[in-house]
Symmetry: C2
Subunit: 348 residues, 2 copies
């Protein structure tokens, strides 16, 4: 089969790799329909994360179940399914409390040992626990078929961020960051009933999309008075803040705009966060919550919301390419020419 393979900084190639096969009775093989390129894929791409040459890429995909192992009971051949960005056994103590990312058998797609999403086929461990069937209302609708791809990572992550930040219906949320996850957090906050949602970023067209996603206010993070502006807009700070960048400066901004007693949830892999204003947390009774999204937990809810038209994250995909276009997609993401790229690999 063809798959996207990492060769070095700014060198990803689509090339022939071995076809996957069932290894464990709980495996399934999925033929990928759509896959996405993620902001976190840029880490190896830019050489920030040191990956081995030959590693497979991609952790967001939907597809058709082609084969199942003898121990698979819920997932059926021919089903259109979505996979969360990490797999889990579904039966350990953490999975039972829906903290799938802490599963003792948790794994992430791609790398040297697993197939990546950005290829024609993927071997899926723990298929019954990992895969979620996509309803026909989504599968038969071209826009929703793209949107559901966002649920496998960025929308689930944005949603987990606003949940982890203690978002209240009728409440106020600040989202720091206007990337795909930040935008999805804005939409999630509105879906959860937040009345005031402030989006902080510095790309005009992304902030415009934030408004389309329901942001009631947008603030330019490059404005030296950005924090003060957010505090004014939120009448003294917000009880719920989602930090969706992962940098020291964005963390500091988040802590400057959280209301005493509130929560800052950070949803991206920490990159260059080094210091914390411990006294700010202490004096203000502020919580800082790390929030690697257990996306699997949210897929059923978000799929229902998508089917019903209550959410639509599809506009985060500003560029669609065939599998062969993966290198071009990475380049567009790297240069911020695209918010997020969808690879259209096969038809359902």
């Amino acid at each position: 089969m063809k798959a996207t393979v990492f060769h070095g900084a700014r060198d990803v190639r689509v090339e022939t790799v071995p076809d996957p096969s069932i290894r464990e009775p709980t495996d399934a093989i999925v033929r990928v329909v759509n896959a996405a390129i993620c902001g976190s894929d840029l880490w190896p791409y830019r050489g920030v994360a040191k990956w081995e040459a030959g590693a497979r890429l991609g952790h967001e995909f939907t597809g058709i179940v082609e084969a199942v192992g003898s121990g698979v009971t819920a997932v059926r051949t021919g089903q259109f399914v979505a996979a969360p960005f990490s797999y889990a056994d579904g039966s350990c103590a953490f999975c039972r409390q829906h903290l799938y990312t802490s599963c003792e058998h948790a794994g992430f797609w791609g790398g040297m040992d697993d197939d990546g999403g950005q290829g024609q086929f993927v071997r899926v461990p723990f298929a019954d626990a990992t895969l979620v069937a996509i309803p026909d209302a989504i599968g038969h609708d071209a826009v929703k078929r793209t949107a559901v791809l966002a649920l496998t990572d960025v929308m689930g992550t944005g949603y987990h961020g606003v949940v982890s930040a203690g978002t209240q219906a009728g409440g106020t949320v600040v989202v720091v960051g206007d990337g795909a996850v930040g935008l999805c957090a804005v939409q999630s906050a509105r879906y959860l009933g937040a009345e005031r949602v402030v989006s902080v970023g510095h790309h005009a067209e992304r902030l415009a999309l934030a408004e389309r996603f329901g942001a009631t206010d947008v603030v330019d993070s490059h404005d030296p008075d950005a924090a003060q502006r957010v505090v004014e807009l939120t009448h003294g700070g917000a009880p719920s803040v989602v930090e969706a960048v992962g940098m020291q400066s964005s963390l500091d901004l988040a802590l400057a705009v959280v209301r005493d007693g509130g929560t800052v949830a950070f949803v991206g892999v920490p990159a260059g966060m080094e210091t914390l204003a411990f006294r700010r947390l202490f004096s203000g009774n502020v919580a800082l919550r790390g929030a690697l999204a257990p996306v699997r937990a949210y897929l059923p809810e978000l799929m229902s919301a998508l089917a019903a038209g209550a959410i639509d994250p599809s506009p985060v995909f500003t560029l669609k390419l065939p599998l062969e276009g993966a290198p071009q997609g990475y380049k567009a993401m790297d240069e911020r020419a695209a918010i997020k790229v969808a690879l259209e690999i096969s038809t359902p």
Copy 2:
């Protein structure tokens, strides 16, 4: 009147200072019955916190209301009352949600502008909102009269720690630190119904007191395998961890023993906390919560529990002295010869 005054590192004196008087209609004057010396008083005493000479000391006291301003309606002359370690107006948005420490008019006893608790009289701002009447069941009982002094700070702080760490009835709590606050956190955790309470410290007699306070297990923090031992005892880590020391090493230990999805609440002024394992928070969905205790919020509940005999933090006071003994009390605390010192200043 006589009061304890800071003159410099390891130089505190009991000397004559001006008597306080009503300044605002909402003030009361309290004649101090008992006052305590706090671990945080050692900061200026040791020269770690740079205080001005002449600053008053002490932020924990009980006493008899001697006079009230014209605007005081709830508090009456002659009442035996307890004061939380900070005062608040009781009417702002934060006070209404019982986050008294974030009150826009919040103040702390002592320093250059306010009377300290370690003196004969204290002017109490916002008396109606700040002071809590002590029921006769406590006032008429010598042990409980000492115990109620702990409710003004260390017990309220320990209680806030276990509440902030999300302690569940039947659950598991780890308390890092065997000082007065850590010991009170142990007792609070048991009061809240925790079944497993692990106390981590390194003073044998304090760990023995932790067991008397309800700790089901004690672990020596100087043991190089302390973290591993706690993780084993808690079958993979505790969902609720109270960090009651304030140092980098104790924070690191707390993060090593918290279970994925759990919360570390730190209840002491951060001293030398500089770095945070952001990736630990992220990957494990762990929350770090700063927890400066809004003690006023808990005084009614804890006073009822004390009156009913459900709690008794009085054993944390291992040394009792008259007001004139304050310098000796500081020395005993500094040398760890006493866990906590009570000054018996007048009789109710």
